[in-house]
């Protein structure tokens, strides 16, 4: 349940009293949940902010305190991004959020906040194809299992693959029952690798075991989006850690506070590869 930090108004009051008379930069950081990766992002983020900026951290909902209008609202995670988009005004920077989720939130009619940008959690298609090409120099085709959530990205991945001289073979799994037959046909086709494109209906705790097992038996290595998959048996994953995301978000926030015009949402610039 969304709950404002009970001390938030008090902190704001203190900040107002303590602050010099001229307007100060104020940033509100909203976490979808306390601690965990969200906390790590917040810590890395704060380290990049300029000194003298008033930072308020809340759990999910921004305090409706009109006396302090944050110049910049940073929402960590999909939940707080959704909340912020619907309620807040001012510049919104969503981070630690997948691209498709961000786009869905901001294009939703109930989203009021129009000035927004993001630092995505997922990796650009070209980076993933580059990793496949680097690890499998003689790869021919990349197999992709696409679900309802990842379907809109299919063309982007196909185009990126082409740039690296990789063909793509796509199977669509639109219903839970069609997942394994689609996967089986996909892997029978002689692809060099299977690329996991994030889709909560295709890759989740219920399906992962079988997908990994099937791909290993078919001798088709799996390239995933999280190091947990690599520990489980995927060949490699390119991903960004909460610290890397936080740092990039902080640097972007710094620029925005300094007056930079709001840029388009971006993919993470720093990343890690797990094998």
């Amino acid at each position: 349940m969304a709950r404002a930090n009970p001390f938030a108004p008090l902190i704001a009051l203190i900040a107002l009293i303590a602050a010099p008379a001229h307007s100060t930069d104020a940033v509100t950081i909203m976490l979808s949940e306390a601690g965990g990766a969200y906390g790590e992002v917040a810590v890395a983020l704060r380290a990049e902010l300029p000194a003298g900026v008033v930072v308020r951290e809340t759990l999910d909902a921004p305090a409706q305190d009109s006396s302090v209008k944050p110049q910049l609202l940073i929402a960590i995670g999909a939940k707080s991004c959704g909340t912020a988009a619907r309620t807040a005004s001012g510049t919104l920077l969503c981070t630690l959020i997948p691209k498709t989720t961000f786009e869905r939130i901001t294009s939703d009619p109930s989203s009021r906040n129009r000035t927004n940008t993001a630092v995505f959690l997922d990796q650009p298609a070209s980076r993933q194809m580059a990793l496949i090409r680097l690890m499998l120099p003689s790869a021919g085709n990349v197999a992709m299992l696409v679900g309802l959530e990842s379907a809109p990205s299919e063309t982007i991945f196909t185009a990126a693959a082409k740039r690296y001289g990789l063909g793509t073979v796509v199977a669509r799994a639109t219903t839970p029952d069609s997942l394994y037959p689609a996967l089986q046909t996909l892997l029978d086709g002689g692809s060099s690798a299977l690329l996991a494109i994030p889709d909560s209906r295709v890759f989740n705790s219920g399906t992962v075991q079988n997908i990994l097992r099937t791909s290993i038996r078919a001798r088709v290595p799996l390239f995933a989006f999280s190091p947990a998959y690599v520990r489980a048996g995927a060949l490699a994953a390119v991903y960004s850690t909460p610290q890397q995301i936080g740092k990039q978000t902080g640097l972007l926030a710094r620029e925005l506070l300094g007056g930079r015009p709001i840029p388009a949402p971006s993919y993470p610039s720093e990343f890690t590869v797990a094998v």
């Binding site: 995670g77 997948p98 959530e149 909560s200 705790s205 079988n210 038996r217 999280s226 947990a228 520990r231």
Partner: protein, 647 residues
């Protein structure tokens, strides 16, 4: 206070958020950050061959199919240090570093973790190796070198681990027929079904041919069932059952003391395993298995002027085992595997043991092993087994191997181990009395009491190297193996009170210490994606005495395998083995050095909705050579195979 006025909008917000959340599809950062709760246990695969604690040769199903093998012994001959023979044609035998009395009693053979050792008679794994259909094999892992620390008794000189295909991979229908010269006729049919929750298969297999002499017709029929049930995301239950029936001929025409006669061996088994994957790094397994067998080997022999009498080696055997194993990571650098097994091996044979009772050997073992990544380039693999057998008391069998990953592509290994082989039921209790009607009794075999088990101390140095830019991988093993208290056949006096016609009889005694040392290597080269060439050689020196029994280790062996994919779905393979002089059966049966070349040419094609492959195989293309005994001839034979699979 401000709080109250903020509450209302938050409340509204919350319900909106909740409503919105209900509509939101799932993808969020949690899909990226969370742990994948259940993971695969690819426990059979070593992390990489650089980290394997010993010399491992992996034979995968592609190699089995592409070389045209009909028996596991056909592919094992390609592993350095192995000697194999098809014997009379239908009772293949495989041994590592020495056959000794033609029974594979000094290697441990497992099929999916179940030992296929046969307690009947001298004790051998040869029959068990034939119980599985080659079409069901995923891969065979051959650990060259003793490893009693992990695999227990009899893993004296090596371990063969036959792993069958997961039932999820064998869904659909498959049929294969092979027919050719020497009345060769083999057939396999398999049906597999199921889904992600549970999958099953049944395979029936038949192999038969005319063997290596006019009287050697042999036949084998097997049926195997396997079911894999994924009871929960963490638990899998595997069920296996099967049976086999073999018959082959032994003895010779015009040889009154060993006349031609048919031998039969029938067996059946059941196995149930439960695996629980607590996490990526932790797995618990509980297994139960039951094996039964019956052997028939009876003939009417004649010796000198005596009237004909029955010589009977028939008997029954039974093995029951209960085993558990726990594998986990104590910390990121240390992986531990430990477990235990209770096992009862029983044999019953009135003609062999002069009693109708079951004779049992009870074994209990506790073993543990640890893989410790001591430093980035150093791995210590150490383990020990504490085994108690009613046949040979208790033994502690340790093993240690250090791997030095000198560079990411070159590893050096050094290790020591101690293994043991308790005497088999026959070696301990043989009491075969042959009744010559109207004349008296001949004591054919009489076990000597107090027979001790054999101990093997082995030292090895190894190397595994991977030249990526040359596409070449090389494994070298230099070894020094010492077998003490070697159990050998000897002549002992018969106690006078027995009242037998003969004064001396055959028995088993602990005799000398044998030493073998040498080097073997295996190099695999893939110059192109469509070409693979593997060369293996072994060079062994022994200090064995010159009497023939001990000449069962050839001084050198060579195996070359060339696999070549050709355009348009054609596939070609050539396998060539050259083996130095040796005997399978005593000094009088010394075989000269021999070559064998097999060729296979195949084409894959589609037949309607099915995938098919047709192949022609020529075995011993180079011409006839003696096999097993000097008077048996393995002449060139060709056969054709047609395989159809429907998914």
């Amino acid at each position: 206070m401000k709080t109250r006025s903020t509450l209302l909008p938050i409340w509204l917000l919350a319900s909106c958020a909740a409503a919105a959340a209900a509509e939101q599809p799932g993808l969020s950062e949690k899909d990226f950050l969370g742990e994948v709760p259940i993971v695969l246990s690819v426990s059979r695969l070593p992390q990489s061959l650089h980290e394997a604690p010993g010399a491992v040769t992996i034979i995968d199903r592609e190699l089995i199919r592409r070389t045209g093998a009909r028996e596991i012994a056909d592919v094992l001959r390609l592993v350095p240090g192995f000697q194999t023979t098809l014997a009379r044609g239908g009772n293949p035998v495989a041994a590592y570093h020495g056959a000794f009395f033609d029974l594979a009693s000094r290697i441990q053979v497992l099929v999916d973790g179940r030992s296929v050792y046969s307690p009947y008679n001298i004790g051998t794994a040869s029959f068990g190796m034939r119980s599985v259909s080659l079409e069901d094999i995923e891969r065979i892992e051959v650990l060259r070198g003793s490893n009693s620390a992990t695999y227990g008794a009899r893993a004296v000189l090596g371990v063969i681990n036959i792993i069958t295909r997961d039932t999820a991979d064998t869904k659909g229908a498959m049929a294969q027929v092979a027919a050719g010269q020497q009345n060769l006729l083999d057939g396999t049919a398999r049906i597999g079904w199921g889904n992600e929750a549970a999958s099953y298969r049944i395979t029936v297999d038949r192999r038969g041919d005319d063997g290596f002499s006019a009287i050697d017709q042999n036949r084998l029929e097997t049926v195997n069932f396997r079911g894999d049930i994924r009871a929960t995301t963490r638990d899998t239950i595997e069920l296996r059952a099967g049976g086999s029936k073999q018959r082959w001929n032994d003895g010779f025409v015009n040889t009154p003391d060993n006349p031609s006669h048919t031998r039969r061996f029938n067996g059946g088994y059941l196995q149930a395993d439960w695996r629980h994957s607590a996490s990526t790094d932790e797995e618990f397994r509980l297994s139960y298995s039951h094996n039964e067998e019956r052997a028939e080997d009876r003939n009417l022999a004649q010796l000198g002027a005596l009237p004909p009498f029955i010589v009977d080696f028939s008997g029954d055997g039974r093995v029951d085992t209960l085993e558990f194993n726990h594998r986990f990571s104590a910390n990121p650098a240390v992986r531990i595997s430990w477990g235990g097994e209770w096992r009862i091996e029983s044999a019953r044979s009135l003609p062999l043991y002069a009693t109708d009772d079951w004779i049992n050997t009870r074994l209990a073992r506790l073993n543990g092993s640890m893989e410790w990544h001591m430093a980035p380039a150093w791995i210590l693999n150490t383990g020990a087994m504490l085994e108690h057998s009613s046949a040979a008391g208790s033994a502690i069998l340790p093993r240690a191997m250090v791997n030095w990953l000198a560079t990411p592509n070159h590893t050096f290994r050094a290790g020591v181990s101690r293994a043991h082989r308790p005497p088999s039921i026959f070696e301990r209790q043989a009491n075969q009395r042959l009744d010559v009607p109207g004349v008296g009794v001949l004591q054919n075999w009489l076990a000597t009491p107090g027979l001790r088990g054999e101990k093997i101390d082995a030292t090895e140095l190894g190397y595994y190297g991977d030249w990526r830019d040359l596409q070449l991988a090389v494994d070298v093993r230099a070894f020094d193996e010492r077998i003490s208290d070697f159990i050998q056949i000897s002549t002992v006096p018969v106690p006078a009170a027995a009242g037998t016609l003969n004064t001396n009889t055959k028995s088993f005694i602990n005799d000398r210490t044998l030493r073998l040392h040498g080097v073997e290597y295996q190099a695999t080269w893939r110059p192109y994606r469509s070409t693979q060439i593997t060369v293996s050689q072994s060079f062994v020196n022994t200090d064995f005495p010159d009497d023939g029994t001990f000449l069962s280790v050839p001084g050198n062996t060579t195996a070359i395998v060339w696999l070549q994919r050709l355009p348009q779905g054609w596939d070609f393979s050539l396998t060539h083995t050259a083996i130095g002089a040796m005997t399978w059966n005593g000094a009088g049966n010394m075989l000269p050095s021999r070559n064998r070349t097999d060729l296979r040419l195949a084409r894959a094609f589609r037949l309607g909705n099915t995938q098919a492959e047709a192949a022609i195989v020529v075995q011993n293309a180079g011409g006839a050579s003696p096999e097993y005994l000097p008077q048996l001839e393995f002449s060139r034979r060709a056969f054709a195979i047609l395989r159809i699979a429907y998914h």
